[in-house]
Symmetry: C2
Subunit: 342 residues, 2 copies
Amino acid sequence: MPTIKDIARKVGVSPSVVSRALNNKYGVKESTRQAVLRAAKELGYHPNVAARSLVTKRTEMIGVIIPDISEPFYSRMIKGMEYVASKTGYTLLFSNSYESLEQSKAVVKMVEAQRVEGLIIVGSSLKERDYIYSLIDKGTPFVVIERHYSDPRMNCIWVDNVVGGYVATKHLIQCGHTRVAHISGDLDVEVAAERLKGYKKALDEAGIPFSPDLVVSGAFVWQDGYHGMKALLSRTPRCTAVFAGNDSMAYGALQAIAEAGLSVPQDISVIGFDDLEFSSLTNPPLTTVRQPRYEMGRDAARLLVTCLEQSTQDKGMKICYPPEIVIRRSTSVYDSTDRTHA
Amino acid sequence: MPTIKDIARKVGVSPSVVSRALNNKYGVKESTRQAVLRAAKELGYHPNVAARSLVTKRTEMIGVIIPDISEPFYSRMIKGMEYVASKTGYTLLFSNSYESLEQSKAVVKMVEAQRVEGLIIVGSSLKERDYIYSLIDKGTPFVVIERHYSDPRMNCIWVDNVVGGYVATKHLIQCGHTRVAHISGDLDVEVAAERLKGYKKALDEAGIPFSPDLVVSGAFVWQDGYHGMKALLSRTPRCTAVFAGNDSMAYGALQAIAEAGLSVPQDISVIGFDDLEFSSLTNPPLTTVRQPRYEMGRDAARLLVTCLEQSTQDKGMKICYPPEIVIRRSTSVYDSTDRTHA
DNA sequence: AAGAATATCACAATCGTTTGTGAAACAAAC
DNA sequence: GTTTGTTTCACAAACGATTGTGATATTCTT
């Protein structure tokens, strides 16, 4: 593999001139610059990034700490990050933090060993704030997605889950539903608690009393959506609409309702949260609250890159996306005359 | 960030001794090795990978060229690769080759510029064989997933799509179906042509004449499955079973059948291919042919790592997985008495 | 045409490792 | 007590780039 010296020898100049020519720097005659460029192309030269980063102390790498690349929810974010990475010349390095305990380890490994220049951290767990502060101390730029810290030095990108829960619930209420259930995610998880808060707010605003009987909770997965819905179906009077904590849970709810011989939305309306790619393919297509995942990933990367370029990590940016309701066919107006109640 | 020199100064030895101590090499007294180790820990030392790879000429990076990280089909493979990468200490570098034209560019970029030590190439397009041969010439180890080349120098991992198509079709025939349709992927794509071949073979073996009327083709996406199924439904006599080219197309078919007021599997049986995570959640759960995606990714990485370690890329390995049928509830026995025909 | 200003280049140091070689220190052998 | 053989270490040269500095060549000034 040819080096800068090979080019220098071929053109008849010193290596330093070649370097300057290749990097479009001041102080090299146009004709020799062209000669260098030509020679580089002929030799098939590519700079050795290791050698370069050794002296420039830059790696042009961004670390991405993300719960699980293979989850559709996150992989769409990654696409957004990749878009700006490829445009700006940065390389993305991924680390899955299946276990939140791994997160801090992954971060130090990326920063200390891999020498990434900055980090995008998706869904950091509350318990591990300390390592985030150590990043601030070290001066490593980073942006956090899916969490918002009030600390003015942090860059945060998230959607307003309270508003999301509110909008979802309000949509059901506006359809005429009064017995609106909620299948919540694990309430230890911040986003689940926030969506529940929005749910309560919408009920409150409509003058509907909150009933603990209409709320079940579990992990943000299909199974818990399924079993949660089953539990809800066994209670009387039966709910006529349900707000699922996320789309996966909504899929489970859809299944439970179908198995009970009921139909969506005639008997029960269902709304989800996230708007996964698959949600337009369910039967019926799922009404849901969209999280702009691609945009979040893209903007996180953009934000980080600007931090990196101007190296002045002044005050942190807070970007909060408004959740947007996507109305499909799993929700409809409540018509008390057209059904028999349990 | 501390360097090897800082440790040397602290312990009172030369940098070379520190290097040897850290790398467990022969020729350093046990007591000083311990002292070095302790100092390294105290200082929070992490080797500078750039400096190291500059002299060792190793990057410990593996390039992964893959059509689309965010597709569930591929992201599961990635999980398999990550499993062995994390165990062996390699770092994975991804490059999406949405456009097959980008593939060759991505490969050279990874090999020449990023200096990956080896490559995993998923779904290389037939048209671009030449760059693969240039890899062989350069001596860069690589393994190809989802394609099999007979060239003995290549490492290939794939599932037998002919057998897969055969097994799927045979399952339907064994259920008593004789009018078995096929919604094929784009026949320019190798795997689609192979699955069609398996379909024909199963028909042939059962003495069922092949009817072009029962085959439609399109891209491997939901929409084309949907429209393909609609086209099939408009033909008489109507098919009683359909083998979809992959699960996404099967989802589309399911939708088209439901919209036609027919039910699965009572009126029409449907079988897919791939066994995506979502396929157990469709209504009804989809019978399909499983591709061991995780295992394929894992074994590709393992194979590549062994190539890298022993650096003797002798003859290539060919690993062919048998496709495995997963019977759920979208297929059932054909009972001609219990229905009205069009 | 001589001096000043500028453009163009070569030289050398540097980044943080690894690794070959030889010097010093120590132990074992006669 | 000299010789031989081992350890244990320091020194120095790489690896392939970037970059500051100073030397030469070129142009401009008057």
